[in-house]
């Protein structure tokens, strides 16, 4: 103890373990091609490194700066603000490099040439992003600040793409040729994900309430829903196409009501299939989790059973139902891609077109917005759940 007080003050260097992992990934990525250059859309291209895109000292300087930013993110002893700024600077820097490299490579080559992001770039983006999120999570920001971070992120991303700075990157070239199709796919994707969620709530919530009240129904109903959940999604489509096709052909009115073997109808049904279990079981769990003495007091004061349910039990179960909504929404945003396989529309259309043509850029045009949508929806609902859980405390604080 004494030696400590007498020794010279020395700054202790500590590392954040996840930060180190991200930094190692990022550092390794610096020595992997950041983009692939292709003379045309289909042929496999050649890798381009940072040090080949920027000749001589400039290239190595950029590598050094990016490396320094990776290391900064991993140093726990630094103030969190510094670490976040480093990670964000790295993120923006990487995007700037991508746009710059793409533009200069395209300018020097014949029409039809392509510049696609390659492994090095993806890994760098991921490493910076994870480092930033890791520090953010440790900050324990207020709810309000987290809403602002989310909104800010969405705005910045939209601005980056809208600016046209990345227009020479292959994915954006694919987008440029298909703007109308992209917007339609976006709308369809939202309809698929939110529509199936809405239908699942309308059907599943009352079933959950029913199971809460009729104990004997729980096992069979949950068992059946569980079974539905285990059917592989591709197999499900395989079964539905002939069944709904037959119904549409042979049942009068069915086709008029939208029943069809392919298109948006079977896609919605399939998504609904996977949404029911989470909605039903979380409704049930939420209701059974309400402290028994609360329901008991409510009945003891003269509420009817319906009043106990509507005024006490359901409001108290709501946070758990909201977590089900989060699970289902994120799950369905991802699953809706498969709708592209049966003409249901959405971003899956690009994915399957891309797979058919072995056009990686087109596949990315379908997957990247899907991932972004899932992240935004998931984070938004996380924040909503937190808001619901902490609102009473907040009210007293104000």
């Amino acid at each position: 103890m004494h030696s400590d007080t007498t020794s010279l003050p020395r700054r202790r260097i500590t590392l954040s373990p996840p930060g180190v992992v991200f930094a190692v990934i990022g550092l390794a990525a610096l020595f992997v091609p950041i983009v692939t250059f292709k003379p045309n859309r289909i042929v496999p291209g050649d890798g381009v490194w940072i040090t080949t895109a920027y000749d001589g000292v400039a290239g190595w300087l950029i590598v050094a700066i990016l490396a320094l930013l990776f290391l900064t993110g991993a140093l726990k002893s630094l103030p969190p603000a510094v670490r976040i700024v480093a990670a964000l600077a790295g993120l923006l820097g990487t995007i700037v490099i991508l746009g710059h490299v793409a533009t200069s490579l395209i300018a020097d080559s014949a029409r039809g040439a392509r510049v696609s992001p390659a492994a090095g770039l993806w890994c760098m983006l991921a490493a910076y992003l994870l480092a930033a999120v890791d520090v953010l999570n440790r900050l324990e920001l207020s709810l309000r600040a987290r809403w602002m971070v989310l909104a800010g992120t969405v705005i910045v991303v939209v601005l980056v793409f809208a600016s046209g700075y990345l227009a020479n990157v292959s994915v954006m070239m694919e987008y440029a040729g298909r703007q109308a199709g992209f917007n339609a796919a976006f709308r369809q994707h939202l309809v698929l994900a939110f529509g199936s969620l809405g239908i699942a709530l309308v059907i599943g919530f009352p079933i959950g309430v029913l199971l809460f009240q009729v104990n004997g129904l729980r096992r069979p109903v949950l068992g059946a829903l569980n079974l539905m959940q285990t059917v592989p999604s591709l197999a499900l489509f395989g079964i539905m196409i002939p069944i709904f096709g037959w119904i549409a052909m042979n049942v009068p009115m069915a086709a008029k009501l939208g029943v069809a073997g392919i298109g948006i109808f079977p896609a919605l049904v399939a998504l609904l299939f996977y949404s029911l279990l989470p909605v039903v079981s979380n409704t049930l769990v939420g209701l059974t989790g309400v402290a028994p003495e609360v329901g008991e007091a409510a009945r003891g004061m003269g509420m009817t059973n319906a009043q106990v349910l509507a005024r006490v039990q359901i409001p108290l179960a709501l946070p758990v139902v909201l977590t089900a909504i989060r699970i289902v929404l994120v799950q369905n945003i991802g699953l809706a891609v498969i709708a592209g396989l049966i003409g249901g529309g959405g971003f899956g259309t690009f994915v399957f077109q891309g797979l058919n043509q072995s056009a990686m850029d087109l596949i990315l045009l379908g997957t990247l917005p899907t991932i972004a949508l899932a992240l935004v929806a998931g984070t938004t609902l996380d924040l909503l759940v937190d808001a619901l859980n902490t609102s009473p405390r907040k009210r007293s604080a104000s």
């Binding site: 009945r299 003891g300 003269g302």
Partner: protein, 314 residues
């Protein structure tokens, strides 16, 4: 008034409450005591039909409870339980307003009533009305629970171990407050407890239950002087009995002619406190309000006499 007539509850073949009859007069407190599982809660909940009796009936002010729709019956009867059962998603004010709200009182009446009750329970309305239950201490939650039960001015109040979750110090204060309030409002009160001390402190009558049967129903004095059987006696705890008995008699009963120096004590002081006062002052005789004295000797003899009668009963 509550009349319980030959009330029985069976679950399958087990009788949880067996043929209990008792009567609680208007404005009286009846305490139900007994070991865990003796059927106290079940008996209490049959009064407001949270549990439907298998046999027998309950009359409230002469009206058969089975003839009233359960939820309407319950709006007329206050109900407070251990751990208070406050609605965690509603403010204190909204919690208290529950029954008036169900009874469609006007907003103005409800607001006035909520503030009145908060005052009555020594909670400043401006400070507490809009708090959430988890922002209250255990004692405050318990008071809000009772306030909520009393909101619609019920003539009858049922309480199931309302003080069970409180620590002993607050508990004594909560009991005293309840007693004062009950006297003021004239509410008929049935309170379940498994603490004999609490039953004696609160009950005008005490019902001792064991294995679903009512063993004895009488005043605290009855139970102390004439316990119906060994079980009742063991519940009371024989060692402390003379001392408890002293606290049931006042000095007025032992007053003698005479003079004494020092501050006078009230004629309603109980013998236990008077004895403590003598020992504390180190005197043999205490002057009473309005003349007369009580002697240490008389207090001692009285205590010993009571102890001896106990011995004979055994």
């Amino acid at each position: 008034m509550i009349q319980i007539e030959n009330l029985t509850k069976r679950y399958g073949s087990t009788e949880v409450v067996r043929g209990v009859s008792l009567r609680v007069r208007q404005g009286e407190i009846a305490a139900l005591v007994g070991t865990s599982g003796s059927g106290k809660t079940t008996l209490l909940r049959m009064i407001n039909r949270l549990v439907e009796p298998t046999e027998g009936r309950v009359l409230i002010d002469g009206e058969d409870a089975s003839g009233i729709q359960p939820h309407l019956l319950r709006r007329r009867i206050g109900y407070a339980i251990q751990g208070h059962g406050l609605f965690p998603h509603r403010t204190v004010g909204q919690n208290i307003a529950t029954v008036p709200h169900l009874l469609n009182w006007s907003n103005r009446e409800i607001d006035a009533r909520v503030d009145e009750l908060l005052h009555l329970f020594q909670l400043d309305p401006a400070q507490f009305r809009d708090r959430m239950p988890h922002e209250l201490s255990g004692g405050q939650q318990q008071r809000v629970g009772v306030a909520r039960a009393l909101a619609a001015r019920p003539e009858v109040l049922l309480m199931d171990e309302p003080f069970g979750a409180l620590d002993p110090v607050i508990r004594a204060k909560a009991q005293a407050d309840l007693l004062e309030l009950q006297k003021k409002l004239g509410t008929t009160l049935v309170i379940v407890t498994h603490d004999m001390e609490e039953a004696i402190a609160l009950g005008d009558h005490i019902a001792v239950m064991d294995k679903g049967r009512l063993l004895q129903y009488g005043t605290p004095k009855d139970l102390l002087t004439q316990p119906a059987d060994d079980f009742v006696e063991s519940l009371i705890g024989s060692a402390e009995r003379p001392f408890r008995l002293l606290s049931l008699t006042t000095v007025a009963d032992l007053a003698e002619q005479g003079e004494a120096t020092g501050a006078t004590i009230a004629r309603t002081t109980n013998l236990r406190d008077a004895l403590a006062e003598c020992l504390w002052r180190g005197v043999d005789v205490l002057p009473l309000d309005g003349g007369g004295v009580v002697t240490l000797n008389a207090l001692r003899t009285s205590g010993r006499g009571l102890a001896e009668t106990q011995g004979e009963v055994n």
